[in-house]
Symmetry: C2
Subunit: 182 residues, 2 copies
DNA sequence: TAGGCCATGTAACCGGTTACATGATTAG
DNA sequence: CTAATCATGTAACCGGTTACATGGCCTA
């Protein structure tokens, strides 16, 4: 999915500046299935404006720099809806953790332990955050996806907790390779 | 994670040609957390060979084109283990489906239904495939990650089945926008 | 007064994909 | 006879990131 569609989608939920779009992609619900950097947000916003898919108004703020607030136009919404009707591509997923787990015997117990414990902590944080999102928001579709996230991530955390020790047990006993790399 | 490490990781499980590496990244367990194309495999293999991290031997086959089979060297394994010891980056995840679900009311029932039913079918296929992987393979760490995958994907499928209808109910009733886009 | 937040933007770079080129063999 | 599988490789392209530039305000 290209950034244009993503930004149109974010703007569909409300007006925002480039800075706020970035924030939403880090803090909001989008965080879990989207990621964008300033280097792509600002140029895309300009292009979108040139194509009349968004409009822009300047807002002067006291004590803060001016900001350019973008709104999705009717043409933008039509375009976004058109994109939504294309069958969605299958989820893209990349995991360094899984590669590490799959090669557990090459590494030390210490490395595996750090990795899985950090993962468990991240997962707990994520669950707490999604719970917040759900309670703060009364938009039904957003609640549907937060429930989905909660369900999957609970299962994930459950597995990690129940199988942490069995993974640790797979860590390399041969310290020659592993220790040398630390 | 860069492709060099990925290829070193794949080669760590056994010698392979560029073609076979690609196959493993589509058919094997790697499929679920990795993706690479020929355009990056072949140049990377050359670079890896130049750096002495892999070695290469030509194999002539009857009835098939010759192939260049690569093996990881001791230096390559050391380098790979060194990379494994860096704390793994958090999983990268992108989902067009979640964006669609979050914007369900902008689209038609037909679109949502197609998307979720296709997702359910993909998930079932995935589960069946991971089950095959698990039964075919007796490598403990690989079994750990296949169990992990099975656990998470079962929960995923369960949610999709139980909440399919509630998502459908969110689809747009205002046909003006939605139908126009079909 | 240092660092963090707010805020916008650009240019260089790069990792990786797409599409193309080539060609033999085998299965339907 | 056509399509698929096996097999290797290159060049053009592109989407997106990183790092940099700029600067005011607020908090510790």
């Amino acid at each position: 999915m290209n950034i244009q569609t993503l930004i149109l989608g974010i703007l569909n939920f409300g007006d925002a500046s480039g800075y706020e779009i970035k924030k939403q992609s880090i803090e909001g619900a989008f965080r879990y299935f989207v990621d964008i950097s300033y280097g792509s947000i600002y140029p895309t916003l300009s292009k979108l404006e040139a194509d009349k898919l968004v409009s822009c108004r300047a807002e002067t703020q006291s004590g803060k720099p001016d900001k350019k607030v973008y709104s999705i136009t009717d043409a933008g919404r039509t375009e976004f809806v058109r994109m939504l009707h294309q069958p969605p591509a299958f989820d893209k997923f990349k995991s360094e953790f899984l590669l590490l787990a799959m090669c557990a015997e090459l590494t030390s117990r210490k490395t595996i332990q750090r990795a899985i414990d950090e993962r468990i902590a991240e997962m707990e944080e994520m669950l707490a955050h999604i719970q917040d999102l759900r309670s703060e928001c009364d938009h039904p579709a957003t609640q549907w996806i937060t429930n989905y996230g909660l369900h999957i991530k609970s299962a994930d955390l459950e597995f990690l907790r129940n199988n942490r020790d069995s993974l640790l047990a797979l860590a390399g006993t041969d310290t020659t390779l592993a220790e040398a790399a630390e």
